[in-house]
C-alpha cells in the first residue's frame, strides 16, 4: 500500500496530462456526435423518403465499423487522399462519427415516443414540420432522451481510450508508456482504472438525476 502511494505521487502528474486529453477527446466527440446524431435523427423522421433512407443507411454503415478501424482509417488512410489530420483531430472526428449512430438512434426513439396527437395539435395551429419539431416535439423528447444520453457519455469517456491506438497520449496511453518503462504494471494500471472511475462517477450521478427527473413525470 505504501509502495502504491509512493508510485502514485510519482506518476500522477504524468497521468493527469493524459486526463486532460481524455477529457478533450470525450467532450469534443460528445459535441460532434450530438450534433451529427441530431441531424441523422431529424433526417430519419423527416417525411422525405430519400433523406430517411440515406440516414438509415448511414447509421448502419457507421454502426457496422469498429471504432478502432474508423480511427485507423481517418489517421492512416486519409493522408493518402491528401487529408492529413492530427491524431487529436482524427480521434475526435472518429469517435464523434462512431457515436453519432448511437446518438441518432436514441434521439429517434425519443422523437417517436411523443404522442402523435401533439404533432396533430401543432399542425392544426398552422405549424410546419420544422416549427413542430423545434417548439413541440424536441422539448418533450429531451426528457425521454436524457437518461440514455448520460449512458452514452459514460461509454464515450471509456471509449476515448481507443484514441491511444492512433498515438493520442491520453490517460490509457500515458499509463501504458509509464508501465512499459517502469514495469510497475500493478500500480500504474490500478491508478489508471481509478482515474477513469473517478471521471465516471459524476456522470453516473448525472444519469441517476436524469432518471429520477424522468420518473417523476
Amino acid at each position: 500500500m505504501e509502495k502504491f502511494l509512493r508510485d502514485a505521487t510519482e506518476f500522477l502528474p504524468i497521468l493527469l496530462q493524459g486526463v486532460g486529453l481524455t477529457i478533450l477527446v470525450t467532450v469534443g466527440s460528445l459535441v460532434l456526435s450530438t450534433i451529427l446524431g441530431l441531424v441523422w435523427a431529424l433526417m430519419r423522421v423527416s417525411q422525405l423518403r430519400a433523406l430517411s433512407l440515406l440516414s438509415g443507411g448511414l447509421i448502419n454503415v457507421i454502426r457496422g465499423i469498429p471504432i478502432i478501424v474508423l480511427l485507423f482509417y481517418l489517421y492512416f488512410v486519409m493522408p493518402d487522399f491528401g487529408i492529413a489530420l492530427t491524431a487529436l483531430q482524427a480521434a475526435i472526428l472518429g469517435l464523434g462519427i462512431a457515436y453519432s449512430a448511437y446518438q441518432a438512434e436514441n434521439f429517434r426513439a425519443g422523437i417517436e415516443a411523443i404522442d402523435k396527437g401533439q404533432i396533430e395539435a401543432a399542425q392544426t395551429i398552422g405549424m410546419g414540420w420544422w416549427l413542430t419539431m423545434r417548439r413541440v416535439i424536441l422539448p418533450q423528447a429531451v426528457r425521454i432522451v436524457l437518461p440514455p444520453y448520460g449512458n452514452i457519455m459514460i461509454m464515450l469517456l471509456k471509449d476515448s481510450s481507443q484514441a491511444s491506438t492512433i498515438t493520442v497520449a491520453e490517460l490509457a496511453l500515458q499509463g501504458k508508456l509509464i508501465a512499459s518503462s517502469t514495469f510497475k504494471n500493478t500500480s500504474v494500471f490500478t491508478l489508471v482504472a481509478l482515474m477513469y472511475l473517478t471521471m465516471s462517477i459524476p456522470l453516473i450521478l448525472l444519469v441517476r438525476h436524469f432518471e429520477n427527473k424522468a420518473n417523476k413525470r
Binding site: 396533430e120 395539435a121 392544426t124 395551429i125 398552422g126 405549424m127 417548439r135 413541440v136
Partner: protein, 243 residues
C-alpha cells in the same frame, strides 16, 4: 364556407368515406352523429388536412384542401380543431399553449398575443389558471384551454372531434357551456359528438353518418325527434335508451 363534394377516403382496403357531400354555412353549427367507426372523425380530419382524401373536393372558403401543399397552412389557420384528447402541449402553461400559434405561426407581437390570450382564457372561464401546466388541470379545464388555443388563431370555423368523450361526466357541462357560448357568438362549428342534448339545443343542422355515407340530414330538431331512416331511428334509440 366549408364544402365537401363526393369525398371518398380509404384506409387500405377499408373504405371509410363513400362519397360525402355536405356544406356548412357561415355561423352555422353542424353536429355529426353516428356509430363509432362510421367515418365521423375522418371527415373532420380531412377538412383540416390531417388526413388525405382519395377523391372528391373539400373547399374551405373556396380554397381546395390539399394536405401536401403549402396552402394547407392558410387553411389550418382559418379552420381550427379541438381534439377528443385535448392534445395540449404538456411542457407549456395554459397561456403559453394559447399564444403558441399567434406568436410563432402568425408572428404577432408577444405582448399583444399575451393580452389577447389572457382575454381568451377569461372567456373560457380560466383566467386564474393561465400559469398552470396541463397536468395540473382537470380534463374539463384542459379542454377549455384547448378551445382557447383554437380561438387564438382567430379561425373562421372550429372543428370539434368528440370534445367531451374523454371527460368525466360531471365535467362535460362546463365544456359544452363554452361551446354553446361560442355558437351564440356566431362561430361556425362542426361538432362530432355523442351529446344528443347539445345537438338538439345548439345545432342548426345534424348529419347522421353510418358506414361512410350520410344517411340522413336536416334541421337538428327534425332529425333527432322525427328521424326518417330506420338506421337513424335505431341509432338514436340505442344512444338515448342504452338499457
Amino acid at each position: 364556407m366549408i364544402e365537401l363534394r363526393n369525398v371518398h377516403k380509404s384506409f387500405g382496403s377499408l373504405e371509410v368515406l363513400k362519397g360525402i357531400t355536405a356544406s356548412v354555412e357561415k355561423s352555422e353549427v353542424v353536429c355529426i352523429i353516428g356509430p363509432s367507426g362510421s367515418g365521423k372523425s375522418t371527415i373532420l380530419r380531412c377538412i383540416n388536412g390531417l388526413e388525405r382524401y382519395d377523391s372528391g373536393d373539400i373547399l374551405v372558403e373556396g380554397a381546395r384542401v390539399e394536405r401536401d401543399t403549402p396552402s394547407i397552412v392558410t387553411i389550418r389557420t382559418r379552420v381550427s380543431m379541438v381534439f377528443q384528447r385535448f392534445n395540449l402541449f404538456p411542457h407549456r402553461t395554459a397561456i403559453e399553449n394559447v399564444v403558441e400559434g399567434p406568436i410563432f405561426v402568425k408572428r404577432e407581437p408577444r405582448a399583444e398575443a399575451l393580452e389577447r390570450g389572457r382575454a381568451l382564457l377569461a372567456r373560457v372561464g380560466l383566467a386564474e389558471k393561465a400559469d398552470a401546466y396541463p397536468a395540473q388541470l382537470s380534463g374539463g379545464q384542459q379542454q377549455r384551454v384547448a378551445i382557447a388555443r383554437a380561438l387564438a388563431m382567430q379561425p373562421k370555423a372550429i372543428l370539434f372531434d368528440e370534445p367531451t368523450s374523454a371527460l368525466d361526466p360531471e365535467l362535460v357541462g362546463e365544456v359544452l357551456g363554452v361551446m354553446r357560448k361560442l355558437a351564440d357568438d356566431g362561430m361556425t362549428m362542426v361538432v362530432v359528438t355523442h351529446e344528443m342534448g347539445f345537438a338538439a339545443d345548439v345545432a342548426d343542422r345534424v348529419l347522421f353518418i353510418d358506414g361512410g355515407v350520410i344517411v340522413e340530414q336536416g334541421a337538428a330538431k327534425s332529425v333527432l325527434n322525427q328521424p326518417q331512416h330506420a338506421r337513424t331511428q335505431d341509432f338514436l334509440r340505442r344512444v338515448l335508451h342504452p338499457l
